[in-house]
């Protein structure tokens, strides 16, 4: 049957090769490493997170404590390994929720056009005009900072941005003939979104996911750094920097290493999405 040649994707990228530039490979490697750590971190941590293992405070790096000890003499390596799931997990969950809400509404707006599109666009335009750290501070002032509150706050903050991108992408596809054909066939909104729009914008929206994930990691770790994020006894990487900030004057590894962990994660994601073939999408702040 020759019918397999269905109307295919408007693929703007050059012929599909999974060959990334070296920088992209490095980025992908870093991301893979941290995701693995987020999953297995607590099982490979050499010490209990709360255990006092060093008599020195802000101990230097040595064989028994590869990343030194923190302000109470706890093992920094173990705390980073366990903290990975808060930093990566919370930001990942928030990004996923933001894309789920923003993306769905964005495609809905693009497909239904007219009044629904207008109303949703106006609403999200107004929402996006509140700086992200301000909305986070207001919600935390009102509801406190438990992990569910942090995740949903970050999710709501990044929803308008996701809405904009997904709507813009979906509007482009929505103009194309095969969507008109499907609409003329009498297909419903749900079918149009699932079968016609979604498969054709999958590439750029993956890039968007990466970008938004970086924003979420930065926002959540900054909140933790301010003492308004993940609360003790749990600690993400931002909290680790905060609690060891007194070691800064001595250049202690306890304050440098968690910060370096955040930096490698976010730079890794940026490297990957900057080097994806075809420069799929680009966005600014939010």
């Amino acid at each position: 049957m020759k019918n397999d040649q269905t109307i295919t994707v408007i693929d703007t990228s050059p012929p599909r090769r999974l060959r990334l530039p070296v920088a992209g490979m490095v980025g992908a490697g870093i991301i893979g490493f941290w995701i693995l750590i987020a999953i297995i971190g607590p099982y490979i941590a050499p010490h209990e997170v709360g255990a006092l293992v060093d008599d020195d405070l802000f101990g230097h790096m040595r064989w028994s404590l590869p990343l030194g000890s923190d302000y109470l003499g706890r093992d920094v390596l173990s705390r980073i390994l366990v903290g990975a799931r808060y930093s990566i997990g919370a930001a990942g969950a928030a990004t996923f929720l933001a894309i789920l809400m923003g993306g769905t509404l964005g495609m809905l707006a693009a497909v239904s056009r007219g009044a629904i599109d207008m109303a949703l666009s106006r609403f999200f335009d107004a929402l996006i005009s509140i700086p992200s750290k301000m909305s986070a501070l207001v919600v935390i002032a009102a509801l406190g900072s438990s992990i569910p509150v942090l995740i949903s706050t970050a999710a709501v903050i990044y929803t308008p941005g996701a809405f904009r991108i997904w709507r813009a992408l979906a509007v482009n596809v929505n103009e194309l003939d095969f969507v008109e054909v499907a609409r003329a066939r009498g297909e419903g909104t749900h079918y149009l979104i699932r079968e016609e729009i979604l498969p054709n914008i999958a590439g750029p929206v993956l890039t968007d996911f990466g970008l938004r994930f970086v924003f979420a990691v930065l926002l959540l770790s900054s909140l933790s750094f301010l003492g308004l994020g993940v609360q003790p006894p749990n600690a993400d990487w931002g909290s680790l920097v905060r609690e060891n900030i007194d070691g800064l004057a001595g250049g202690a590894p306890a304050v440098v290493m968690p910060a370096a962990a955040i930096a490698t994660l976010t730079i890794g994601v940026s490297l990957l999405i900057d080097n994806l073939p075809g420069r799929w999408s680009s966005t600014g702040e939010h």
């Binding site: 992200s132 207001v138 509801l143 003492g227 910060a259």
Partner: protein
């Protein structure tokens, strides 16, 4: 100036005011969903029911939410947003003592950043693809990708711990000499400068490259104008609009950065007042600070849009 431009700008200002109203509503709703009774919280567990009822009346807590919103908005506009729940001082006094410090920080940062960022951005655009461009791009990408507190931490380690040029903490009480003043100011400004330059430079580069790709620049190159002449007299005048837009937009990013910088360097500015208010749940103070930040942000974004409108020759000469 013609009527079309005036109408566009007026429309933009109206949108900014409407958005600010929406933001005030969002802030009010956000802070009013607080579980528990403020009056009870202020007076403590041992307060008599009469006292609680009296305070509830004084704070208008016995009125429906929409009336309280308008009362709150009115008091905010009249410059008296109430008293702090924590120490009882007027919010206006607290803010007045901190606002000049924040403005000073923002002003000094902007004065340093803008020229450097624009120059770097234009140079990388002109030499795009060169080793210089790639190096600058990688460095700025890294700076944008890491949290602000990480930059601050690195700078403290380099300049305060290793080189011992500046003190790690920024604020000294009482009078400081001019020399001291600069040393205290240096690290907060340097941190903000790094972040701002990185963002502004990337956007400037993109805007200038956009202009350099246009056909009139190609024409200028073809007729044999020198590269310097092409950039200075043909490309740049046309990129001024987007660049003004970028500068205004980036000054609004300064607000977010200031929060981290003021906390890490213990700088007595408005942002640290806000963070302290959030951790003590001092709602009147949170509301007032957030509204100041949002209003400034909206104002700068509006300025960015207006400079975009004004610099568009198709709109200007119609």
């Amino acid at each position: 100036m013609n009527t079309a431009v005036v109408r566009l700008i007026a429309g933009r200002i109206v949108i900014a005011i409407l958005t600010l109203l929406f933001v005030s509503l969002a802030v009010f709703v956000g802070t009013e969903i607080l579980p528990g009774d403020v009056a009870q919280a202020v007076l403590g567990q041992n307060a008599t029911p009469e006292a609680v009822a009296g305070l509830r009346h004084a704070l208008h807590l016995d009125q429906p939410a929409y009336i309280r919103y308008f009362l709150w908005l009115g008091s905010l506009l009249s410059g008296d947003p109430g008293r702090s729940l924590v120490n009882g001082l007027p919010v206006a006094t607290l803010i007045a003592s901190r606002l000049p410090n924040s403005l000073m920080l923002a002003f000094v940062t902007a004065v340093i950043c803008v020229p450097i960022a624009l120059m770097l951005g234009i140079l990388s655009a002109v030499w795009r693809g060169s080793r210089f461009d790639r190096a600058v791009s990688f460095v700025t990408m890294s700076i944008i990708s890491v949290p602000e507190f990480m930059i601050a931490t690195l700078l403290v380690i380099v300049f305060a711990v290793n080189l011992r040029w500046f003190p790690a903490l920024s604020y000294a009480a009482g009078k400081v000499s001019l020399d001291q003043f600069f040393r205290l100011f240096a690290l907060p400004v340097l941190t903000l400068t790094c972040v701002m330059i990185a963002q502004m430079m990337r956007m400037t580069r993109a805007a200038v490259i956009d202009t350099l790709r246009s056909s009139y620049v190609e024409m200028a190159v073809l007729k044999g104008a020198s590269p310097i002449r092409v950039v200075l007299t043909h490309a740049l005048p046309n990129a001024i609009g987007p660049i003004a837009n970028i500068v205004a937009l980036n000054l609004s990013f300064l607000l977010g950065g200031a929060i981290i910088v003021e906390v890490i360097f213990n700088y007595p500015g408005l942002a640290r007042l806000l963070v302290d208010a959030v951790s003590t749940r001092d709602m009147p103070l949170v509301q007032a600070c957030v509204m100041i930040f949002c209003a400034t942000y909206l104002f700068l974004v509006m300025l960015a849009d207006i400079s975009g409108i004004l610099s568009n020759p198709r709109l200007r000469h119609r």
